[in-house]
């Protein structure tokens, strides 16, 4: 596990040291603050807009965070860093799992920071935050897991550009493809169902849902991610490196 943590630290250590990241999070907070001022434009529904904006930005932050993995892994392989690490006593599966964990950590930090910004702004503007908003943000944070697994899978089998494009396309489709939800095992089993983490409408309109839903969603994300990381490991183990 130390080896996995070392690889993970390499990922999040690099990204979380970037000043641009915090600048972008600051921009997200600014967006949220500004949207709370849209009373006239929204006919007094600016609170709803503020919440929606924070959900959207947190989701976007999660996607951009996991996209870094598609570039990171390919770059490491190209540069020789991966080879240097893989020549040590760390297996390929441990290596990609470390990459996955590092990316998850980055995504979690980004989404948590955006969520905290929203909570503070909401408290300052409208008073205490409804619990259902916290739950909806928590779901977005949890959704980083399967998204990172998707990014990892594509980056182990494809080049940087193709991996990035397919990762975005898959995440997009996973939020939108309710059309195939009738094929139950397929959608959520093989094809990820990210709409399970989309309770934004419910949160904004105050429809309550329990902690058990969040617990189940978390378990699904862990199980799905482990499955997809295993599949990535199968491909990565077979691959010629360098």
């Amino acid at each position: 596990m130390d080896e996995v943590n070392a690889i993970a630290e390499g990922v999040w250590g690099r990204i979380l040291r970037m000043k641009i990241l915090y600048f972008l999070i600051g921009c997200a907070w600014l967006h949220i603050i500004l949207s709370s001022q849209y009373e006239a434009l929204m006919l007094k529904e600016q609170k709803m807009l503020m919440a929606d904006m924070s959900f959207f930005l947190a989701g976007l932050g999660a996607v951009l965070s996991v996209l870094t993995l598609t570039f990171d892994l390919s770059k490491d392989l190209r540069q020789g860093t991966a080879i240097a690490y893989l020549s040590k006593s760390v297996s390929r599966t441990q290596y990609i799992f470390g990459k996955f964990l590092g990316t998850v950590w980055v995504g979690v930090v980004v989404t948590v920071l955006i969520a905290i910004g929203f909570f503070m702004i909401h408290n300052a503007t409208y008073g205490s935050l409804p619990v259902v908003m916290v739950k909806a943000h928590l779901l977005i944070i949890i959704s980083v897991l399967p998204m990172a697994a998707i990014a990892l899978f594509f980056s182990t089998i494809l080049s940087e550009a193709a991996a990035a494009v397919l990762t975005v396309a898959t995440i997009w489709m996973a939020y939108s493809a309710n059309a195939i939800s009738s094929v139950s095992m397929l959608y959520g089993g093989i094809v990820p169902d990210l709409s399970l983490f989309n309770m934004r409408m419910e949160a904004v309109h105050g429809t309550q849902f329990g902690w058990s839903y969040i617990g189940l969603a978390f378990i699904w994300s862990v199980v799905y991610s482990v499955g997809l990381v295993s599949l990535s490991g199968i491909f990565f183990n077979k691959r010629d490196l360098g």
Binding site: F56, S176, V223
Partner: protein, 326 residues
């Protein structure tokens, strides 16, 4: 086991478990939020809610720019509203405010928007939607009547139905009853006059009495379960007084007024001026000062009876007492 074999087994097991969990989660999700199935499945990566907000902003800007709504802009407004509803069916404001915008220039469009709201499991409990829908329908037919154009009684019936639904909603206001009565009256007669309205109210009160007799052990429902019976009676009497004031010599009015007071206040002495019962011993009407027929007093000393025999001089007043007790 070879590490690759372990990975294959892990991958297969995880995907099967994930599939089962996803089915359960989907089910729970739809239980929590039954309106999810109404949301448009646009491929927008789950950002329907934000898009709905943006479209709402754009809608407000659009409305603000229009001085009046012509046919095409009214159709455009309806389309915009439908887009917002498809993206966010839980957005309550869209239905009512949107219909308000449309009601004069595109009443059918406004009705469609309201009817969408009526289908919503939560928003559909809002009495204002039904109230506005009824108002839109009946307003149109009143305008036709005023312009001596043919009246569509189906729309009037629909209006009455909507008003009744509004009345049945948990927090509706009392004036909804007025609207319903007017609609019922309009439905009953072309003129929908106060006379017709009073006749309708009397008919409903008689039905209520019949219902009460048939279901003695049950609480009353409908308007009397919701609105106090005394309130309804007060309303009827006010209507009757108003009618008498408006058109005292109208044919059939006296008979109707007599029927109303007899139905509402059976076996009671009625003040002909206020159309309400007055207490025993009253010689003059407190409201008008006009003389009243005295009742419930001793035939010997004229004091108010407290029982079948006079409390002052013991005179037998059994007949008078039986007549006046209620």
């Amino acid at each position: 086991m070879d590490s690759n074999k372990k990975l294959i087994v892990t991958f297969i097991c995880c995907f099967v478990i994930a599939g089962v969990l996803a089915i359960k989660l989907n089910r729970v999700q739809h239980q929590v939020s039954p309106t999810r199935k109404l949301v448009d499945n646009l491929p927008v990566a789950g950002s329907q809610k934000l898009l709905a907000d943006i479209q709402w902003m754009q809608f407000i800007q659009y409305i603000g720019r229009q001085k009046t709504l012509d046919k095409s802009s009214a159709a455009n407004v309806e389309k915009r509203l439908n887009n917002i509803i498809d993206l966010d069916p839980d957005f309550a404001k869209v239905y009512y405010d949107g219909a308000l915008v449309l009601m004069n220039d595109n009443p059918d469009g406004a009705l469609k928007v309201l009817e969408k709201g009526m289908l919503h499991p939560i928003i559909g409990r809002n009495w204002r939607l039904y109230m506005l829908a009824g108002h839109i329908l009946i307003q149109g037919e009143r305008a036709n009547r005023h312009a001596h154009l043919p009246i569509n009684y189906n729309r009037v019936k629909r209006a009455a139905l909507y008003f009744k639904k509004a009345m049945n909603c948990a927090d509706s206001q009392n004036y909804v009853v007025n609207q319903w009565l007017q609609a019922e009256a309009f439905n009953a007669s072309e003129t929908a006059s106060h006379l017709t309205q009073l006749q309708t109210m009397l008919r409903l009160y008689k039905k209520h009495l019949t219902d009460m007799q048939d279901n003695e052990n049950e609480m009353s429902t409908g308007i009397f379960g919701k609105y106090d019976t005394q309130e309804f009676i007060d309303k009827m009497i006010s209507e009757a007084l108003e009618l008498r004031q408006e058109s005292e010599n109208q044919k059939g009015l006296k008979a109707l007024l007599d029927e109303v007071v007899l139905t509402v206040f059976p076996n009671q002495e009625i003040d002909p001026y206020t159309l309400r019962p007055y207490p025993a011993g009253f010689r003059f009407s407190p409201q008008t000062g006009k003389p009243l027929k005295v009742h419930g007093v001793c035939k010997h000393c004229g004091r108010v009876l407290k029982g079948p025999f006079c409390w002052y001089d013991g005179t037998d007043n059994v007949a008078e007492w039986n007549k006046s007790k209620h």
